[in-house]
């Protein structure tokens, strides 16, 4: 058996290659992590107090950033769309166009990307720091289930809060859009609302909420998994925060593509 290993290779043996083995091992570990999440989620005692605290941290604390980016997104998208529509004399379609774009795609994506940057990195860094300074071990030996207290509460909080934040972002984005349209086309608020929601269906709203749930869960799992298993001291904390953000953002775009295909099949 030894002779089958190339002379230049390490003494370790791999099924495929070191990187491929590590990749599949990581996927398996994430699968186990998610299974454990669901197992702990439905077992007593529930960590209500910490869950509410995390909902506050994830939801309320993100409002200023989400408000600003939502408003700017709505305003900028309206300004950028106007020239194209005005060429065809179709500026009256602006509210419909903007509402479709914001509710179907922009609000879930922008909110999720901001949450990945703000909340996902925070989870990775916070849990990573607790891991390398033995605080998670200390919690475990003092009779507390750290997975339930730290991981389950965080993942649940962001999964619950992101849909609410997405709806909020959509409303703020629409407000930004309305102010811009009102300034240029002197459209009244009732006329804007009527035009904007004429083209929006229940499927659009429910698909956005479903997307937000998926994105929230993804951000939570990526952040908590990276932080909870952080290694190599302070360098590991930085890596955990970084990987949590990059992985969340990548997965959000993959999920976006898949969910859009599925939703379009129902449209």
């Amino acid at each position: 058996m030894e002779s089958e290993i190339p002379v230049t290779s390490t003494p370790e043996k791999f099924l495929l290659s070191k990187k491929a083995d590590s990749f599949f091992r990581d996927i398996y570990n994430v699968y186990i992590f998610i299974l454990q999440y669901f197992k702990e989620l439905f077992s007593v005692p529930f960590e209500w107090k910490e869950l509410i605290n995390q909902c506050y941290q994830v939801g309320y604390r993100s409002l200023p950033l989400i408000s600003l980016t939502g408003f700017i997104t709505g305003t900028v998208f309206t300004k950028q769309s106007r020239p194209s529509l005005s060429e065809f004399g179709a500026t009256s379609w602006l509210p419909s166009l903007i509402s479709i774009a914001i509710i179907r795609a922009l609000a879930p994506l922008v909110t999720a990307l901001i949450a990945a940057g703000k909340v996902g990195s925070n989870m990775g860094a916070e849990l990573g720091s607790m891991k390398v300074t033995e605080q998670i071990d200390a919690m475990e030996v003092s009779g507390t289930n750290p997975f339930k207290y730290l991981v389950v509460t965080r993942i649940t909080a962001i999964t619950l809060m992101l849909p609410i934040l997405v709806i909020y972002t959509a409303l703020i984005g629409m407000l930004g859009s309305y102010l811009n349209i009102h300034q240029n086309e002197l459209t009244s608020f009732p006329a804007f609302i009527s035009s904007a929601f004429k083209t929006i269906s229940f499927l659009d709203i429910s698909a956005s909420v479903f997307k937000a749930v998926c994105y929230g869960f993804t951000i939570g799992v990526a952040g908590c998994y990276q932080g909870y298993y952080a290694q190599n001291g302070t360098k590991g904390v930085g890596t955990a925060a970084n990987v949590a953000v990059v992985l969340s953002m990548f997965m959000i775009f993959v999920e976006e593509m898949v969910i859009v295909q599925v939703v379009n099949a129902f449209r």
Binding site: T133, E134, V141, S142, G143, N145
Partner: protein, 257 residues
């Protein structure tokens, strides 16, 4: 195996032929020891010799490869969930880094294990317990401070106080005096002895510091090549003609030569 020794009521920790390795690195290679109630054992050894691994196995943070570890009559690696949690409440673990929750004040750090494990306690009782253990470690004045505002010695003492609040039967100290000045080390040593006397707790003290071992332990042993030297009193261990123990002694008490 001598079952009578394991089942002796006075034996709180009984370890038989404990082995643990990480990949190809054999760390513990047949550890045997019995620790009696109220007894302090100091474990010496070089860095990476497996001292911390030993107490992490005792507290159930790591699983052994083979051998048995009985704590208060229960095999730790066979316990799961609530049974393991219940046993852990009888074990106090003082971490090398103190491991205080840095987002909580001293009061919240001490209240955390208490309110989570004794949910029927009233706020007044929790506060009394916190103040009582802070008095025991002479740090009542730090009650509203954050861990970042404390010195290294204070953090160690608060870490010990956080374990004492659960009134443990066994204390595991991981390098209690590392990184501290000699006078603070004396304070910590005094506290370890006080815990033994006041709480009648058995302790395992993992240390490089011979002064700490001498001041706090009833029995001293040393991990060499994954095994314990025969435990004995401080003088017995360092009277042995063992080169490992001798070099440790010479380094720590070089001024005595």
């Amino acid at each position: 195996m001598d079952e009578s020794a394991t089942n002796n009521n006075d034996t709180v920790i009984s370890i038989k032929d404990l082995k643990k390795s990480f990949d190809t690195n054999i760390v513990l290679n047949g550890i045997d020891i019995d620790i009696l109630k109220g007894e302090n054992l100091a474990v010496l050894g070089r860095s990476g010799s497996g001292k911390s691994v030993l107490i992490k196995i005792i507290s159930g943070l790591l699983k052994p490869d083979s051998g048995t570890v009985k704590v208060l009559g229960q095999e730790v690696d066979k316990l799961r969930g609530k049974a393991l949690q219940a046993l852990r409440l009888k074990i106090g673990f003082s971490f090398q880094s103190s491991a205080l929750y840095d987002s909580m004040t001293v009061r919240e750090n001490l209240a955390f294990p208490l309110v989570r494990n004794k949910r029927n306690l009233k706020t007044k009782e929790v506060n009394e317990a916190i103040e009582s253990v802070l008095n025991d470690v002479d740090l009542l004045q730090t009650i509203n401070q954050m861990p970042a505002e404390l010195s290294g010695g204070q953090r160690k003492r608060i870490g010990i106080a956080r374990t004492l609040i659960m009134k443990p039967e066994i204390m595991l100290y991981d390098e209690p005096t590392s990184g501290l000045d000699p006078l603070t080390c004396i304070d910590i040593n005094t506290l370890i002895v006080k815990v033994q006397q006041q709480y009648n707790a058995s302790s395992i003290i993992i240390t490089h510091d011979l002064t700490c071992a001498k001041a706090t332990a009833d029995k001293v042993t040393m991990i060499v090549d994954g095994r314990f030297l025969t435990p004995g009193s401080f003088n017995e261990i360092f009277n042995e003609k063992n080169t490992n123990a001798k070099s440790f002694y010479d380094y720590n008490f070089i001024n005595d030569k």
